[in-house]
């Protein structure tokens, strides 16, 4: 599973990091700049919760 954080949609709510800090890193101002990352199997549920917490729908989850 991969998550892609669309930087143009991220407005710095910092909710992904509040819900799933193990998966989503934010900068000092609250923006997520991590781009696309591969998610380890044991963190998939967390990654999904973090994505569901984004009010902007800026986080895309893809499974292959």
């Amino acid at each position: 599973m991969k998550v892609t954080v669309h930087a143009d949609r991220c407005m710095g709510h910092a909710m992904c990091n509040a819900v799933a800090p193990e998966v989503y890193e934010i900068d000092d101002d609250g923006y997520n700049v991590m781009g696309t990352v591969e998610i380890e199997p044991d963190k998939e549920a967390l990654a999904r919760q973090g994505a569901a917490a984004c009010p902007e729908r800026a986080i895309e989850v893809t499974t292959d």
Partner: protein
């Protein structure tokens, strides 16, 4: 064909005419008379309980009112998000219907559009960042404890006047770096603006005169700090001092005094009653549900999630936008000069996004909500506000674990620009 002034057309358009402007062939349910006649700021039904009306509005799914100069009502989560994320077609130049223009100019940053908006937004978001908020937390905890202390051992508490309203005033006075004591002065002006009248025009005049006083106050304060910078208390630089030190734009210029005063007044007004109302609303629901209260007393780590859920349950802000382009929302075509009002409170109850949206469930898997807006104008104060609210709930549940609503004195609520709480009487002793 001669161009009609789109603004005039929007004002004069009846439902039947604007229904003809539909694209995409969606058959819209016919909006009943109450929607066409809806004054979104003063409607009595909305004041009492907006959610049944919101549910009906979502079914249209774009409502159209002919009042207040004419406006569309945006009520579904997807449509609210689409409008808020589209700063090109939806301008913040008009945040109210009917549009009002302040003689002192557009409010920075909230009434600005890109690219002008970006200059200020980046700078201001940095001041109230998650990192700054963490350092500010002990100060806020101290303020909350001071507010609660006089009530320990008492049997009752009027929550709004004792805690919810004074908390943000005191916290923001420190965050701004105001001279000690000035919080009371500014609070006095604010009370003056709010008290005494339900006459909307009288209120508008009172708030314009308070705005002039606030602009003068902050112009004087920023000028004084520019002349003589002060050392920050506890290593926390106040916002006023940060503005004085800021260098913006490509030429790294200083901010002008009137720019700084404008920013300070916007931030001051945006940070107080919003936070107070959310704290009040949250406590209204907890005070009615001892089971929920007991869970937070037993496990304070649930408070974060509880807050997010209660902010979804009552997302409080309604804001207008001026339509700039030819754009379609929820299947309805809109034209330049039209106005829309977005209801974040309705988005929070949208069954397309939330299962069983009218129930409070701290364990809900979907945590997102639009209470702090979205898109370019996303609330700058969201990190600070969340922290203030969480710290307040932590201290309240630790100090008054038996609080509950006083059945003899029901809370007074309202809906308007914000959904809020005017009074909430709590009983503090064990039941």
């Amino acid at each position: 064909m001669a161009e009609t002034d789109p603004r005039e057309a929007a004002g004069a358009t009846s439902w039947a005419v604007s229904a003809g402007a539909e694209t995409e062939g969606t058959a819209h349910a016919h909006c009943p008379a109450w929607v066409r006649d809806l004054n979104i700021w003063t409607d009595e039904g909305l004041h009492r309980d907006p959610y049944p009306q919101y549910a009906e509005l979502r079914s249209y799914p774009i409502g159209r009112s002919d009042r207040l100069g004419g406006y569309y009502v945006i009520s579904r989560y997807d449509d609210v998000l689409a409008v808020l994320q589209d700063a090109v077609n939806f301008s913040n130049e008009h945040l109210f219907v009917p549009p009002t223009r302040d003689p002192s100019g557009r409010r920075i940053p909230i009434e600005l559009d890109p690219p002008e908006h970006g200059l200020y937004k980046r700078m201001l978001a940095g001041f109230f960042s998650p990192q700054w908020t963490r350092r500010f937390e002990p100060t806020v905890r101290g303020i909350v404890r001071d507010l609660l202390a006089p009530h320990v051992g008492r049997s009752e508490l009027e929550f709004m006047s004792s805690v919810a309203v004074p908390l943000p005033f005191r916290a923001m006075a420190v965050a701004f770096g105001l001279p000690p004591g000035d919080a009371d002065l500014l609070r006095g002006w604010d009370d003056q603006m709010r008290s005494g009248t339900s006459d909307l025009d009288a209120r508008k005049r009172a708030s314009a005169s308070v705005r002039v006083k606030l602009l003068g106050y902050f112009a004087d304060l920023t000028a004084a700090r520019r002349a003589e910078p002060i050392a920050p208390a506890d290593g926390l630089v106040g916002m006023v001092d940060a503005l004085v030190a800021a260098r913006v734009g490509e030429d790294k210029r200083e901010l002008e005094l009137d720019e700084m005063a404008n920013i300070c007044v916007t931030m001051w007004n945006a940070s107080l009653h919003t936070t107070a109302n959310v704290l009040g609303n949250t406590m209204v629901h907890l005070a009615a549900r001892p089971d929920l209260r007991d869970r937070l007393v037993a496990d304070p780590s649930v408070i974060r999630e509880a807050l997010e859920e209660l902010m979804r349950y009552e997302s409080i802000v309604a804001q207008a936008r001026l339509v700039r382009g030819e754009v379609t929302v929820g299947g309805r075509a809109m034209r330049p000069g039209d106005h829309v009002v977005t209801l974040t409170g309705s988005a929070g109850r949208d069954a397309a996004v939330y299962e069983d949206p009218d129930s409070i469930d701290f364990d809900r898997p979907v945590k997102k909500h639009l209470m702090f807006g979205a898109g370019l104008h996303r609330c700058i104060g969201s990190h600070v506000a969340r922290m203030e609210l969480r710290v307040a709930l932590e201290e309240i549940h630790a100090t008054f674990p038996h609080y509950r609503a006083d059945p003899a004195r029901p809370s007074r609520r309202h809906t308007g620009l914000e959904r809020g709480t005017e009074s909430l009487h709590l009983l503090l002793g064990a039941a």
